[in-house]
Symmetry: C2
């Protein structure tokens, strides 16, 4: 029997609610598919920061390295720890340290879920660059607090970083409907985004079977609302991918349904799976958070571990529940009810 | 009789179609309200670039300076001139040179227009910073074409730049529903966006009658799709405002309806009015472009010139036409038909 070592980082707020819920489903799937998940739980979070002065211990990255995967809930509790501190202390360094350069976020309407758009038939796979670009963390401020204060923030794009995420996108497009949309803003950002466009054009030659569209982020945001059904695989920089995937979450009915996988494609380090939503302090610990995004992220984890049958079963079970209307609207069902319905649909 | 000097820059593609159409409406409004618009037409465009090697002459800015307003169609013809060249050679330098730091973009559904959302009752005023930030044009590339190539692009935010756009937003909120949403990404961009958040908090003290919300750009994009009716005035940086206003255009039924005013608030230089849409090469010169965005931008121009009665009349006339279904769907009416319907609704 295969046994996988999973590092659980529930994090803050509803991160805890949804990881606990998702693990119930993961274990049910493991039971049926005859593999085991051994978990170790790390309390790294804003609470931990308040107690220890750090979001994770100094050897946090090394502690996580041997695991087969990391399953994370949500990070952030802005009332006590500024987001810029909590995220740069936990989530963002993990993505970078483990070279999880491909953030995969699927956007489609689950059966039974009503979205905010009149349009319904879309199936988009967003591939977000996850380690550099606008999130490089390079910058500074001078003359702080004075009239002449200036703040700068520098986006850094490397050829390796851009090439590998685009190649990853081209490969995904090959496995789907063979259409890739590369999103930039090269009409206004003439260094970084023109560079990205050039590399897209270079690589396109290696994938003659994939149709490539170039779009600017502004037009792309509009397209996701007006003609989402035209899109297949979308590749974007760290910031643009962040924006488009929240928009993707919105059109699929809300953040309660948006899953995400932070993948280290060469498997030299663990990948990390996390719902797109945040810690939602207002509803934390109340048994009302929707665990579907976390369960779906868990399915991505099983898939990455090679348990593709179990992953497919979990996805069908999610839709088995939502098709009956369970978990499809905020407030309709509790976290526990939704979890139970997914487990029941698994046939467990 | 007041006479205003207007510099017309139709630019490229449908920019020409819609500026010509909008001027017919502007002149009809001028006739009824007893003022005159004297226009001078500048052929600055990608064609001009191909002929002369420059998007506008070297003294272009000085040529425009004496005018009361600039009315611009669209800039860009990517098949022959890279956007990064055309826009940095014409549109962007005008915004910066004339300190048009406030880009005002209204988003609401015109009577008779069907949007892509199920939600309908929204009325958003986006205020976009228009002179600095992510569009500073600062950056560079090293090791071009080699494996170790790196491109950087630096966002530059000044205290003056951020303060003035936020103050402008607060003032607009005062004149509307007294709610301001400031959009950043301070959880990931810890220099520029944290700076913006700090200034927002400082200024909020001067506007105790305005409720302030802070949102991240990703959550904001989702909100515009899920709960646009909660929003009143939205203030954002150059890039974030660009993205949000295309999204705003989408939810109001498309770029055919999205108007924009590039305002120099202290009136030390001319302001510029332009539809949000681009040059749309595929439909250029075919008498099928929707001129409503340009006509609405023209109404913003009349308002800025102090002809508030005429501005209001033009807006009502636009809705007079759309209420009858004219111009509400792509392909339904020609540019000329829509223009004629608006003029007729003006009672002219
Ligand atoms: C919390 C934040 C830093 C993060 C991001 O922007 O990457 C989140 O929005 C996401 O999309 O995973
Ligand atoms: C054409 C482009 C540079 C421009 C911008 O991003 O400012 C346009 O998208 C706009 O919104 O006015």
């Amino acid at each position: 029997m295969n046994t996988y070592q999973i590092a659980l980082i529930p994090g803050d707020g509803i991160g805890i609610d949804v990881i606990d819920a998702a693990m119930v489903v993961m274990n049910a799937a493991a039971g049926r598919h005859r593999f085991a998940l051994e978990t170790q739980r790390f309390p790294w979070s804003c609470d931990h920061y308040l107690k220890t002065g750090a979001m994770m211990p100094e050897d946090g990255i090394e502690t996580l390295r041997p695991f087969d995967a990391i399953f994370l809930g949500a990070v952030g509790w802005p009332a006590t720890v500024p987001d810029a501190v909590s995220l740069h202390g936990l989530l963002l360094p993990i993505r970078k340290a483990f070279n999880q350069y491909a953030n995969i976020r699927p956007h489609r309407l689950l059966a039974g879920v009503e979205g905010p758009l009149k349009a319904e038939g879309f199936d988009i796979l967003c591939i977000r660059e996850n380690t550099e670009g606008e999130y490089s963390g390079a910058g500074g401020r001078v003359h702080q607090g004075r009239d002449n204060e200036v703040a700068v923030e520098t986006s850094i794009f490397t050829r390796e970083g851009v090439e590998r995420i685009l190649r990853f996108g081209f490969e995904q497009a090959r496995a789907r409907r063979r259409h890739l949309t590369s999103v930039t803003k090269s009409n206004a950002q003439k260094y970084s985004m023109v560079f990205w466009d050039e590399i897209t054009r270079e690589l396109a030659a290696d994938y003659p079977d994939v149709t490539v569209s170039h779009m600017h982020i502004d037009a792309m945001a509009a397209k996701m609302v007006m003609n989402p059904q035209d899109l297949d695989v979308v590749v974007a920089s760290n910031l643009f991918g962040d924006i488009l995937t929240d928009l993707g979450a919105a059109i699929q009915g809300g953040l309660g349904f948006a899953a995400s996988a932070n993948i280290c494609p060469d498997r030299s380090a663990p990948s990390m799976f996390e719902p797109v939503h945040g810690s939602a302090p207002d509803i934390a610990g109340k048994n009302i958070a929707n665990p579907i995004a976390a369960i779906w992220s868990g399915a991505q984890m099983l898939d990455h571990l090679g348990e593709t049958g179990a992953a497919a079963d979990v996805l069908s079970a999610i839709e088995g529940a939502t098709r009956q209307g369970i978990g499809t609207r905020p407030g309709r069902n509790s976290t526990v009810e939704i979890t139970a319905a997914v487990v029941a649909a698994l046939g467990g």
